[in-house]
């Protein structure tokens, strides 16, 4: 129910935005623009889920990491603190920074779409997107390298970990697209 309302608002916003956009009579340009926006939004959503979901590690029943590591035992919760895992806090920070930079680059993209001169490149958008991909890469690498000594024997990596590794090439590709993309017409 709420999703329908949100979708309607999103479509209305898109409609109004496209009416104010400079006239992209060329269908190919419009397709490229839409594809770029969709890719960027996908990146943003993946980064959000990977950062906020507490599911970097799972033992089949419960999810642990990145934010808390609590198991239920005899009716009460027993939580392991991140005090002796400085690298885990570094991974938290890097994921949050990557999400923030991806969001900033999307806002920059929307701004530069209107303010850029003809033939100009989306420079700042590309910079922030590439930085976001570097942060995600660093976070995922740190977690991959340090987690064997942190997790239990029969734990496997959760879906948020997979999403983080997926976000890295997607954001890098998106960044390169912005480096190559020129504002035409």
């Amino acid at each position: 129910m709420l999703w329908n309302i949100a979708l309607e608002f999103f479509l209305l916003f898109l409609f109004i935005w496209f009416r104010n956009l400079p006239q992209y009579t060329n269908f190919k340009m419009l397709a490229i623009l839409l594809a770029t926006i969709v890719l960027h939004l996908t990146d943003l959503i993946i980064l959000f889920i990977s950062t906020c979901a507490n599911a970097w590690r799972t033992d089949g029943v419960a999810n642990y990491d990145l934010w808390y590591d609590c198991t239920q035992r005899n009716g009460g919760y027993n939580c392991r603190g991140t005090n002796d895992a400085d690298w885990l806090q570094a991974v938290q920070a890097l994921m949050v920074l990557a999400t923030i930079f991806c969001l900033i680059s999307f806002i920059f993209f929307l701004c530069q779409l209107f303010t850029l001169v003809k033939g100009g490149r989306f420079f700042f958008t590309a910079v922030f997107q590439v930085l976001a991909s570097l942060f995600v890469m660093s976070g995922a690498i740190i977690y991959t390298v340090m987690s064997p000594e942190w997790k239990n024997e029969n734990d496997t990596y959760g879906y948020a970990f997979v999403l983080a590794w997926l976000a890295f090439p997607l954001t890098l590709i998106s960044g390169f697209i912005y480096i190559v993309l020129r504002k035409k017409e």
Partner: protein, 206 residues
């Protein structure tokens, strides 16, 4: 008018000193390494002047024990430290009672010193108040608290970002001023990256 105001405030203060109690301040929690010294601070707020009969008492309750034992007392101008209990020869009074400071120093900590220290201060005639407790945690290695590293990294990176943006705008502003005073035509060179801003600024020169 001013004298009425002064009189009212004095009367209110007098009333307030009768209805408010003494408030004792200590830290919430102290972390320390094994073998080090830790200073437990205790201070108080009271509407009365600091009396010469001010008293400070420290009580220690180990983790898991129900009752506490008294380990320090200052009264009548003299300090009495623990000479029989777990802190004998390790406790030192480093406070200044005339400045409302009743801090103690515990030397050479051990794991058995984990527990709650309660400070009770009395400033006659202001004696109604609650004592305040500080928890002592003794570690072999002081851990980094949750979120400190996270917040530090995020703060540093965002701070650098804001700094770089500020420097960028500052450089643009300075270059614009130099172009204005030297009247050199630099606007043709950097069209790509600066998004035509210098074109706009070099406009009135032409």
């Amino acid at each position: 008018m001013l004298s009425v105001l002064a009189l009212t405030s004095v009367v209110l203060l007098g009333i307030a000193s009768q209805i408010t109690a003494i408030v004792v301040y200590t830290s919430w929690e102290r972390h320390a390494l094994v073998g080090s010294d830790v200073r437990l601070s205790c201070s108080f707020f009271s509407w009365q002047w600091t009396s010469p009969d001010v008293t400070f008492s420290w009580q220690y309750r180990p983790d898991g024990a129900k009752e506490g034992i008294s380990i320090f007392h200052y009264g009548g101008g003299a300090a009495y430290v623990d000479n029989k209990g777990p802190f004998r020869d390790r406790l030192e009074f480093v406070g200044n009672p005339s400045r409302r400071d009743g801090s103690i120093l515990i030397k050479n900590l051990d794991f058995s010193d984990n527990g709650t220290f309660t400070c009770d201060a009395k400033n006659p005639p202001d004696i109604v108040g609650r004592p305040s407790s500080v928890r002592l945690l003794v570690f072999e290695k002081v851990p980094v608290q949750a979120g400190v590293v996270t917040g530090a990294i995020i703060g540093v990176v965002l701070g650098l970002l804001i700094l770089i943006v500020a420097i960028y705008y500052l450089m643009r502003f300075l270059v614009a001023r130099r172009v204005f005073s030297l009247s050199m035509s630099k606007h043709g060179k950097k069209g790509k990256g600066k998004e035509g801003s210098q074109q706009k600024q070099a406009g009135p020169l032409k």
